[in-house]
Amino acid sequence: MLDWTRANLDLVRELTINHVQLAIVPILASFVLSIPLGWLANRNRVLRAVVITGGSLLYTIPSLPLFVILPILIGTRVLDSLNLVVALTIYGVAVMARSAADALASVDRTTVEASTAIGYSPFGRFVRVELPLAGPVLLAGIRVVAVSTIALVSVGVIIGSQNLGYLFSNGKQRGILEEVVVGILMSLLVALVFDVVIVLLGRVLMPWNRPGRAGRKRAGLVADPATGGPAVPAPPKLDKADAGVGGGDA
């Protein structure tokens, strides 16, 4: 027991690092790309239908053939890790665009109107008011994207990507159950670390949403008594079910 692991620590470490590298870009990219898409989806019904339906459509494409076909579609070299990164970003955006649309829609209209009234430009209002208030729902969405991206990276082994998925195929071919188990456990560990990092980032970036403080300030604008300056909008309290969009991932 553990003989294989002890003899192959370097391999496991190298594959884990690659796995993380391959996952990190799609996760960040789908977060960044989904925000303008979410904004678009809330402009009108037609755009919403386009974004949401487009997302579902992309999501149904099975990963295996997409990995194989992508080099032809985007003109990359067959072994370029960009193929995997682009494919994973497509899936990430498919899920995240919907989350972003829901997140931005969850922002209280009266808060938005009030921030317009106190002189925010539309862009300033979006960045300084709507986006922070949409934070908790965005966070729930990106957690789902992170977990599923990390699980999906391993399918890339079929197109020659070097990641933890190698331990699955090599372990099965050589009949080493321990190798497959180590691959699964490392993949779970990477997912757990990503999730913890995202949650911590969320706490730091959205201190108002921290458990125990969430309920203190109610929806509406709370003037900053210390400076007397521009009022800082406090986000409405979001109950758990809302934050998770029913997914219970919160």
């Binding site: 690659n18 067959v78 072994l79 370029d80 990507s161 071919q173 980032l201 970036l205 800082v232």
Partner: protein, 309 residues
């Protein structure tokens, strides 16, 4: 106090940005990325297919080249030929262990040549069209084989593929390609006149699943390659091929024109000259059998033993 969280926020963003940069920097040693030096010919990037034998052969090539002071990078575990050939052409890899018969069939599906010499000769022109070249083939051969259990062979009197007529209808397990190419089901139908066959696709290159299907009698005949350690371990019988539908499958280095040099050819030809089928069976047994040696170790020991490294 009110501004404190903002500073912390900026700090966190900086840390994340720093981490991303650091990870991106690690990316320069990322074996999944194309190698910078590949095109210039300084570094030889050795590829392999995604099964253990190919990885062992890739290790043998790369260690033999290292012993001759080549700069070598490994880019193993690549999918089938529609990945490896483009990868050779675009410089993502420069060299890969191939099998002469299947390589020729990839270029010419109607290929009927089966002898090592004639295949090697035909290959020279076939691969030249893609700016590739083949070096000397090794005596070592890993070819497709129609395999049955010893029990079945003795009970039914099976020694050649033609004898399979006696057990029709039967199920035949192999990779999906086997159903399309002349050494597989089409050859069985047309050359041997055996038509009552149900093809069972098994996606593992004659690996453990294919062996299990045969031993469990889910399939009665399987395509298991001649270097499989399971042939001995499970006491399996390879049927003879009197009509010659199965082409030779000698191990042969396939290298891109851009990376070719006489020194490279000399180093690899020296390997090919020593490599026999028995060696290959022994190497696979170390890696896939009970020992579970790594491909790297098995390859290093073999090179040492032959005085090549």
């Amino acid at each position: 106090m009110t501004h404190h969280p903002r500073w912390r926020r900026i700090g966190v963003v900086a840390v994340v940005a720093g981490l991303s940069t650091a990870l991106a920097a690690c990316g320069s040693s990322d074996p999944t990325g194309p190698s910078e030096g590949a095109a210039s010919g300084d570094t030889i990037v050795v590829g392999s297919f995604n099964y253990p034998e190919s990885e062992i052969l890739g290790e043998i090539y790369s260690q033999a080249l290292e012993a001759k002071d080549f700069d070598v990078e490994e880019r193993f575990n690549i999918g089938p030929r529609q990945q490896t050939i483009p990868a050779l052409q675009d410089g993502s890899i420069n060299l890969i262990p191939e099998y002469n018969g299947n390589l020729l069939t990839y270029y010419d599906e109607s290929n009927t040549l089966i002898e090592t010499g004639e295949i090697d000769e035909a290959l020279v022109d076939a691969v030249a069209a893609d700016d590739l070249r083949v070096l000397d083939s090794a005596p070592a051969e890993d070819k497709d084989a129609y395999v049955v259990t010893r029990e079945k062979a003795e009970a039914e009197g099976l020694t050649t593929i033609a004898d399979l007529e006696k057990i029709t209808p039967f199920k035949l397990g192999a990779n999906p390609q086997f159903n399309e190419y002349s050494y597989g089901v089409p050859g069985l139908n047309e050359t041997y006149g055996i038509t009552d066959v149900e093809f069972v696709p098994i996606e593992d290159f004659g690996g453990p699943d294919t062996v299990k299907a045969l031993v469990d009698d889910t399939v009665q005949v399987a395509d298991i390659y001649t270097t499989s350690p399971a042939l001995v371990a499970e006491d399996l019988v390879v049927l003879e091929d009197p009509e010659g539908i199965i082409a030779a499958q000698n191990v042969i280095p396939l290298v891109s024109d851009a990376a070719y040099s006489d020194e490279l050819a000399d180093a690899l030809n020296a390997v090919s000259a020593e490599l026999t089928t028995e060696d290959l069976i022994g190497l696979r047994d170390r890696v896939e059998g009970d020992e579970k040696a790594s491909a790297e170790t098995a390859a290093a020991d073999w090179l040492q033993e032959k005085g090549l490294a």
